[in-house]
Amino acid sequence: MLRVESLNVSQGDFALSADFAVQSGRHVAVIGPSGAGKSTLLGAISGYVPIKSGRIFVEEHDVTREPPHERGVAMLFQDGNLFPHLSLAQNVGLALRPSLRPTAPERARIHAALDRVGLAGFEDRMPGDVSGGQQSRAALARVLAQAKPLVLLDEPFAALGPALRAEMLALTSALVQENGATVITITHDPKDAEAAADEVIFVDAGMAHAPRPVSDIMTDPPMALRAYLGT
């Protein structure tokens, strides 16, 4: 589970505050207008954005001062999820150990992760030699290999077409939740949220509201969300 306690982030004129908890195994969508602070919220949780005050707990561990790779968080960004000069297997292998020479058991785990996303036999391909959808799958394989309790998605599939994006989102939540992990996804499309998520965090005007069940929030949206959705 994830618990965010009186979090405050400030960057120049921009400020964001949040105070909420997400139960284990849930899939939560983060929606809100551009510039409201969705990426900042995920950045603060994953340790890329410095925070001013507050505390962050992952699985009851206080990770507020931990570096990104020791927070129990795996994250997919909008771009730059793979090193272009490393093969798909090497990229996935980095999730296990910072080395380019995996041991035999590690090689088996890399192969298994690539197999689960449908990329068996693509081990030695370079990211530049495969399609955008296959790159997304490889990045997802890396997240699976990382096996972290919390997975954050900052619109990693935004560059894909609508059908492929829906497919990747479904695959991601299925595979990640097989591992029992919690998923938090940023999305612009309320339909994506309704389709995949259990709960919704609405971010607006520097405030991340506590998650509410997706059916609940869509039938009776608060004023600010209503303005954003245009309903």
């Binding site: 994953s46 340790g47 890329y48 954005v49 410095p50 570096p67 990104p68 790779h69 020791e70 795996a74 994250m75 960004f77 730059g80 999820n81 793979l82 090193f83 272009p84 000069h85 490393l86 980095l94 999730a95 910072p98 080395s99 380019l100 370079m126 530049g128």
Partner: protein, 519 residues
């Protein structure tokens, strides 16, 4: 941002250590020099003459280089022709051409017994004489016109192609294009180009050593050498070193304010499509400028090759031994440079401001002979400085290449941190693993280029080694200089060809290694 610093701790420590070591070596030399200077400082009439000549030749060199460069850059910017890419590459050649080799080529073309003098002799005209101010400025223009052309061409290519499309649609005449588009760009780039060439020429040594000299054509750098070598007057060498530091340092600080980014990035070989300047006259003028610039660069280089082939058989065995030593100095120097430049560049690359790497250009103001004098003074009481001739040369060469290398590496590293900093942090990549898995493979293209420049600069350097070397131990440029001094022109020409080949090969090997990087 704070979290970025966490991903590259090694650089946070390594950068300041490497930069501090370089600075410490310079400061130690400076303190040593100051300790030997005769206080209070006496400034003789000949010292004033040296100072005046130094500034005057730098002013002339800067002005001529840039005045020549503007029409050449304009012609390159608006014409597409066969060999354009080759000419742009040729503009990069003086970066790696050893100074003494170029001087030999210039003498073969413009000297008393050179091609032009021979040609004039057919008509009963007296031969040219380029020793003195003319020769020093000519050689400086040979080296710096290409640099200025690249800087200004970069400015031209930074004007968006859409603006030239609009010019074509409106049918604007060249005069209007000049006023509206080109003049504002020139106002930004030309002062910077002049300032950079001026600073480079202030501390020039090898050109003044070979083409200058005498009471009327001695630069400060050359005067340090003479005080040291001919009179062994450490006090005077020390005073002159301090003068050099103040003059070049002041100029470099002023230059920092007007300096455009250094033109070392690729992309200059793609001309922008132009619809203006189609008149016959402007086409003819551009053609003339291109031909003149190409001949200006190609004639001396061709002369080196032609005379070198003839002279190869005349080379004494000592030349081969010297080449072997030079190769080792260049390799050691390149290794030192890479070891220092990578952490410094990673350290500066984490800073948001592009101003940081500009500061490293202050290193241009540090005079190699001042550093050499200082270290001679430090070593002299404890050991025979001649034993240290080659290591000191390698270290000083690495420090001279450091500003260029940092300038080349920092933008690349900054981009890597922006693109892959988060991913590296997510994978827990730190320290050596970060360098090995992410930074080195991705910076390899720029690193190969920087190492190639450093190796070529070092193998061809005729500077601090002249202070330390004894007759037995010479590097190839020094050996070549001695052959020239004893009028063994054929042997010197052979050595020049060998040195040119070494410099080009070293550059090519490093650059080739960089280009064959993983993507």
């Amino acid at each position: 941002m704070a979290q970025r610093a966490r991903t590259i701790k090694t650089a946070v420590f390594g950068g300041p250590i490497a930069a501090g070591t370089a600075l410490g070596l310079i400061l130690a030399a400076l303190l040593a020099v100051m300790s030997r200077a005769d206080w209070p400082v006496q400034f003789s009439a000949s010292d004033w003459a040296v100072l005046r000549f130094t500034v005057w030749q730098a002013v002339l060199s800067a002005l001529f280089s840039v005045v020549f460069a503007v029409p050449v850059a304009r012609a390159l910017a608006r014409r597409r022709f066969f060999g354009r890419a080759a000419l742009v590459t040729l503009l990069g050649a003086p970066f790696i051409l050893p100074v003494i080799v170029a001087v030999l080529g210039i003498l073969a073309v413009y000297g008393r017994a050179g091609w032009i003098s021979d040609f004039l002799g057919l008509f009963g005209l007296p031969p040219l004489s380029i020793y003195g101010l003319e020769g020093v400025v000519l050689a400086h223009v040979f080296f710096n016109m290409p640099l200025a052309t690249r800087l200004i061409l970069q400015g031209w290519q930074a004007i968006p192609a859409e603006q030239f499309r609009l010019v074509g649609q409106l049918g604007l005449p060249p005069r209007t294009v000049l006023q509206a588009l080109e003049w504002p760009m020139l106002k930004q780039t030309v002062p910077g180009a002049i300032a950079l060439v001026f600073v480079i020429c202030l501390t020039s040594f090898a050109v003044a050593l070979t083409l200058g000299g005498g009471p009327r054509a001695t630069t400060i750098e050359l005067a340090i050498y003479q005080a040291f070598r001919f009179d062994f007057d450490l006090g005077r060498a020390a005073i002159l070193s301090l003068v050099q530091l103040v003059v070049a340092g002041t100029a470099a600080v002023i230059a920092l304010w007007v300096l455009p980014p250094l033109a070392l990035q690729p992309g200059l070989d793609r001309p922008v499509r132009r619809w203006d300047a189609r008149g016959r006259l402007s086409r003819a003028m551009d053609a003339i400028w291109i031909v003149v610039a190409a001949l200006f660069l190609l004639l001396p280089i061709s002369a080196v090759v032609i005379k070198g082939v003839i002279g190869l058989g005349e080379m004494p065995a000592s030349v081969w031994l010297a080449a072997w030593r030079s190769l080792w100095v260049a390799l050691l120097s390149t290794v030192l440079l890479v070891a220092a430049a990578l952490p410094v560049a990673a350290w500066l690359g984490q800073r948001e401001s592009g101003r940081a790497e500009t500061i490293t250009l202050l290193g241009l103001a540090a005079s190699p002979l001042m550093i050499g004098t200082g270290w001679f003074i430090l070593i002299y009481p404890v050991a025979d400085p001649r034993l240290f001739a080659l290591p000191v040369t390698a270290v000083v060469n690495a420090m001279m290449a450091l500003p260029f290398a940092v300038r080349i590496l920092v933008p690349g590293l900054r981009q890597i941190f922006a693109d892959y900093g988060r991913l590296s942090a997510a994978m827990g990549l730190q320290g050596l693993a970060l360098w090995r898995i992410v930074l080195l493979p991705r910076i390899r293209l720029r690193l190969g280029f920087a190492a190639g420049l450093a190796a070529a600069l070092s193998v061809g350097d005729l500077g601090v080694v002249t202070l330390f070397a004894d007759p037995e131990v010479a590097t190839l440029p020094l050996q070549m200089y001695r052959l020239m001094g004893s009028y063994r022109t054929d042997a010197a020409s052979g050595a020049a060809l060998l040195l040119l080949t070494l410099a080009l090969c070293l550059f090519w090997i490093c650059d080739y290694w960089g280009r064959h990087a993983a993507r």
